[in-house]
């Protein structure tokens, strides 16, 4: 990773967009909201069996969170239903409240890639995409969707990508970082091929149910550990993409890592470079130092904001990553939300601000 990497890319978006939020979580008043988008067969399945993922608990992830629905206490719609389930309130509190020009939806409910029933997974993915269109994207032009696919069934994933790619309201393909096998494995490559073919970026948002312990050290006891383990899972995904040679085969592929933080990126690049420099004979298909691919093909969203003490240490991190690689995100309505006005505790230049809060996302999503 070289040293000065700030703003090599032009900031074209200044005039058009000032604030793009790369991580908004839409929700449902009840699971029945999905019923209109499922066939009778899968509606019955959903009602009878519910989700059946690779973990012990049925309703929630393995570590209970510290607040209901993982959400800001002040984000519950006055009309009822969980946070993120009411479009008028989402508009009022979030889009209008913060002046967001474009918001990218990242639906997490039902976890299609985590379902063990392969056909139900496919039906869910399709239904979730139709649900995004019907509930959010059609009535609200500021919102963009994420194409939900079944990562564990790449053929079906590619079919779903092909079905949605024409619709520019979908901004990206969403994959879970926790999967049965690491992201870069060859069985996933048809998904990358489809993404590049359609000019769609891929986004990994923390979460997923791959069936493996949440850390390489085993299952942790506490949420505070599980929360942190998302960082390591992101690292594993990046290492896999790079060492499997995905970016050698798909040099145009753009991938963003969402809600995993970013302060670990430089040191992780240094570690990969050092290991690669010693053992590149094992992976001759990796022709560049890993940090070169990291630099070229990967973006990061900013939330949860890194908060060193003293705050100024963050300027080193920004310098090492490159301020053209960070995209602002709020994670609304989740509890570790970042407010665009106060998230950065260090001063940014006008150009850096324009890039992080909008320009980089415009480049990543191809919004121009």
């Amino acid at each position: 990773m070289t040293e000065t990497q700030t703003l090599e890319r032009p900031v074209e978006a200044k005039a058009k967009y000032n604030l793009i939020d790369c991580d908004i979580h839409p929700s449902m008043k009840t699971p029945a909201e999905l019923h209109p988008y499922l066939s009778q067969r899968w509606k019955n399945h959903l009602v009878t069996y519910g989700g059946h993922t690779r973990q012990g608990l049925a309703e929630t992830l393995s570590h209970p969170r510290m607040v209901p629905e993982v959400s800001r206490v002040d984000s519950w719609p006055p009309t009822g239903g969980p946070p993120g389930s009411d479009l008028p309130f989402l508009r009022e509190q979030h889009l209008d409240g913060l002046g967001i020009d474009i918001g990218v939806l990242v639906p997490l409910r039902f976890n299609a890639s985590g379902q063990r029933h392969p056909d139900f997974a496919v039906a869910l993915a399709t239904a979730l995409n139709d649900w995004q269109l019907g509930k959010f994207l059609e009535p609200e032009p500021r919102l963009r969707g994420s194409i939900i696919v079944t990562q564990e069934d790449p053929a079906s994933a590619v079919a779903e990508i092909n079905r949605r790619a024409y619709d520019k309201r979908f901004a990206q393909i969403l994959l879970p970082p926790r999967s049965i096998e690491p992201l870069g494995k060859r069985r996933h490559w048809s998904i990358f091929e489809a993404a590049v073919g359609h000019g769609l970026p891929i986004s990994l948002h923390v979460g997923g149910v791959g069936g493996h312990p949440a850390t390489g050290a085993g299952w942790p006891s506490y949420y505070i550990e599980e929360h942190h383990s998302q960082v390591q899972t992101m690292q594993a995904g990046i290492a896999s993409l790079i060492f499997e040679g995905v970016f050698e085969s798909f040099p145009e592929l753009k991938v963003s890592f969402v809600e995993g933080g970013f302060s670990w990126v430089p040191a992780f690049g240094w570690r990969m470079d050092k290991a690669w420099s010693t053992m590149r004979d094992e992976v001759p298909h990796v022709t560049q130092p890993p940090s070169e691919y990291l630099r070229r093909n990967i973006w990061f969203t900013t939330q949860p904001m890194e908060e060193p003490n003293p705050a100024k240490n963050l300027t080193d991190t920004l310098k090492w990553i490159g301020t053209d690689r960070l995209m602002f995100s709020t994670d609304y309505p989740h509890w570790d939300f970042d407010d665009p006005r106060y998230a950065f505790k260090i001063p940014l230049t006008a150009a850096e601000k324009a890039a992080i809060f909008a320009g980089n996302a415009v480049n990543f999503y191809g919004l121009n």
Binding site: D74, D339, Y342
Partner: protein
């Protein structure tokens, strides 16, 4: 310093909180077991409204595996990131010296006593027989 009448006592039940605007400031008012407290509403971290936070007890422990909940309802968890603030003092639990919000003196006064003296209740109709929450700013 002036005293501002901000609420009728019966407007705020035990365990509840409320945003009041006094002299241009947003103040979070809390009823802790019948006692009233007022702190600055804005979380110093990212600006969330502390009046929207859950009022919680203090989780403590003498050793791993032992849990003790004390001071029920005396802390407010920021509605966003969950930082805990002592409602009585405005100090955060994790970093009391550096992360804190301003705390204001609060008294409960009979309406009859509010008709004279330095009290400011210009937008607040005061009745002689009711109890009122008064914040000093």
């Amino acid at each position: 310093m002036a005293r501002h009448v901000v609420a009728r006592v019966d407007e705020l039940d035990i365990g509840k909180s409320k945003l009041v605007k006094v002299a241009g400031r947003d103040i979070a008012l809390f009823n802790v077991k019948g006692e009233f407290f007022a702190i600055a509403n804005r979380c110093p971290h990212e600006g969330a409204d502390l009046c929207r936070g859950q009022m919680v007890g203090l989780a403590e422990s003498d050793e791993p595996g032992q849990y003790r909940m004390t001071r029920h309802g005396e802390l407010v968890r920021c509605p966003w990131h969950g930082w805990e603030f002592d409602i009585r003092t405005g100090k955060s639990w994790c970093d009391p010296a550096r992360t804190r919000v301003k705390s204001f003196d609060v008294t409960v006064t009979k309406g009859g006593a509010l008709t004279e003296g330095p009290y400011q209740a210009e937008v607040f109709p005061v009745s002689i027989d009711e109890d009122y929450v008064v914040v000093e700013i």
